[in-house]
Symmetry: C2
Subunit: 349 residues, 2 copies
DNA sequence: ATGAAAGCGCTAACAG
DNA sequence: CTGTTAGCGCTTTCAT
């Protein structure tokens, strides 16, 4: 039975001796169709194995019921969590999701944006690449009133709706925690300061130092990409520092884990010699030794929130422009890697 | 300029004083349109900001240019790799990807399959859930000649095209490696033996034992889900075993890492007391101590291969039915967690 | 090499 | 509450 003709509303209409319009309305549960006919329609549709043709509908309605997602990288715990959250909400809302990833490249990001624009997504969710320097490639969406929501890595120009955490605050509390542990000389390993997430965390770090009357030392700032190699390099640079730092705030748990390994291989004791705080609360944090203190923030929720806002906007439930910045909760999780003088607690286990 | 009317081929045709049909052909680079007109068409299209309406095209052609993907879980390093591979190939091929995840539930998997069927995907790629016991929900696809490719977690009934690794061989070499290290009493921590991947690995484990003249001890087999809690429980069960095993083959790196942590907390030395081999080559393997020996296999490639086969089939380049089983390479990576008596090498670093 | 015309399946005025 | 009708934008015979 491979090549059955598809069943259309006309076929249903014919069998029931009613008009296709009524079938269409019935299928949409339109209020102006009698219960009886509706039931007949649904039964017949099920019986005949009817499947809606979304293309005809979309063509007619000029809607795609599709949301585009642009991420900088798929192979990331954080992004995967966000994705899961988005997928949940969009599926519930009856939207399809087209995913594009830019591998941290501005060029690819722009190409993806263009592609999704041509595919006519109803809305877009995006997180920026490392080297994305402007938002020009999103302009076609803005011009056509297609809503765009950025999350995590965003440009805070006040013109776009963004879902973020308070990165400055996180940087502050992470650094403050290290200071409270008695650290006096705290290094910061991070990534491109062009991206808000990293520059804000850096700002929080600087503010915390300042509030503790410590003059920031630029040579303690290490910028790199987030690869394993770069992380090893960063750790080696730390080892060269004289005097050695007594604390490091790292912008990413994976990088922190690699650094810790490298430092330990060179005889550095953690946290006694150097205390470490990471960022993201990845699963590895609880598996390495000592367990990694980190900043926890809910990727899943961020995805759900971004998607929910977008869909509400599309459904006319709420207007996006009214809420420009959504800040999601975040918190410090203290584990052994940063506890200099106290008995290790068992948070987050 | 938010509400410009969309540019259609009619608009282009009017401006150029040619017929829409010619524009359509020109845009498709059809051979029966002169170079000159083609150029004019392309220029005008670009100039006017024309975007193809995929719905009209799909409606007309009765194709969706969309591929469905059903996975058991998104938050998995392996799945993410596969996804990245699939995304790459489908994007290159001009296909959209609709992703659905079943959270390891047969019910949800079936619902997702139905949904994608109604959305009329041109093809489907799927990996089965834990408790999926039959393939009935894929029957509508088969009946309509919609190609389905399974990967990793599959049902090898000989009727479907599958992309897999040789799990039995992997189980064999992992176990053999432990035996070669002098292990005599090897436990196996795995998951639902209903799924091919786990049952095959178990088979490999049994075969290796048999080939070394060791009688398998059922009490050394621990089946659980792959959660952190279950992994701790499994480790505790190992600790109860008398005598203690001297090796464990674990079906998943994360589970292995959690087990290792738990065992170490209870004073077990690894690899001296118990040698451990994991599976998947996750990033954590290189970050925990001792570094985890594991089986490496290429998720990315599996994704690319599955997607490529599907697309080739859809494009009529090759017929799927001719190649029923594609086995992807896999290998043992030896690290410190399994090296009982030799100096630790630095493989896989 | 180009044009005319029909139709993919659905929805939304409008009319009753 | 139901039917009639037109049209969304594209492709594709069939003609020329």
């Amino acid at each position: 039975m491979a090549n059955d003709k598809e069943v259309t509303i006309y076929d249903i209409a014919k069998r029931l001796n009613i008009s296709p319009a009524t079938v269409s309305r019935g299928l949409q549960d339109h209020s102006s169709v009698s219960k009886k006919t509706k039931k007949k329609i649904f039964d017949e549709a099920a019986q005949m194995g009817y499947r809606m043709n979304h293309f005809a509908r979309n063509l007619r309605q000029q809607k795609t019921k599709t949301i585009g997602l642009i991420v900088h990288e798929l192979k990331s715990n954080f992004i995967t969590s966000v994705l899961a959250g988005i997928e949940k909400v969009t599926t519930e809302g009856g939207y399809d999701l087209i995913i594009a990833h830019s591998s941290e490249s501005y060029i690819k990001e722009a190409a993806n944006a263009q592609n999704l624009f041509h595919k006519r997504v109803d809305g877009l969710i995006a997180s920026l690449s490392f080297d994305t320097i402007d938002l020009a490639h999103y302009k076609p969406f803005i011009d056509k009133d297609i809503p765009v929501i950025f999350f995590d890595r965003v440009e805070q120009d006040g013109n776009s709706t963004v879902v973020i955490i308070d990165n400055a605050k996180c940087g502050y509390i992470a650094t403050q925690h290290l200071l409270n542990q008695g650290c006096k000389r705290i290094a910061h390993i991070t990534s491109s300061l062009q991206r808000n997430v990293y520059s804000q965390r850096y700002k929080g770090y600087l503010d915390a130092l300042a509030d503790h009357g410590i003059v920031a030392d630029e040579s303690l700032l290490l910028v790199s990409d987030l690869s394993e190699e770069a992380s090893i390099t960063a750790a080696m640079q730390v080892l060269q520092m004289k005097p050695l730092p007594d604390g490091i705030f790292v912008t990413n748990d994976f990088v922190a884990a690699v650094c810790m390994r490298t430092l330990k291989e060179h005889g550095v004791r953690i946290p006694e010699d150097i205390a470490i705080v990471g960022f993201n609360n990845d699963a590895i944090g609880k598996l390495i030794e000592p367990a990694l203190s980190t900043i926890n923030y809910p990727g899943n929720d961020m995805g759900e929130i971004a998607a929910r806002y977008l869909i509400n906007h599309l459904n006319g439930v709420s207007r996006i422009t009214q809420t420009n910045t959504i800040v999601v909760r975040s918190e410090l999780i203290v584990r052994e890697s940063s506890l200099k003088n106290v008995q290790a607690p068992h948070y987050g286990k």
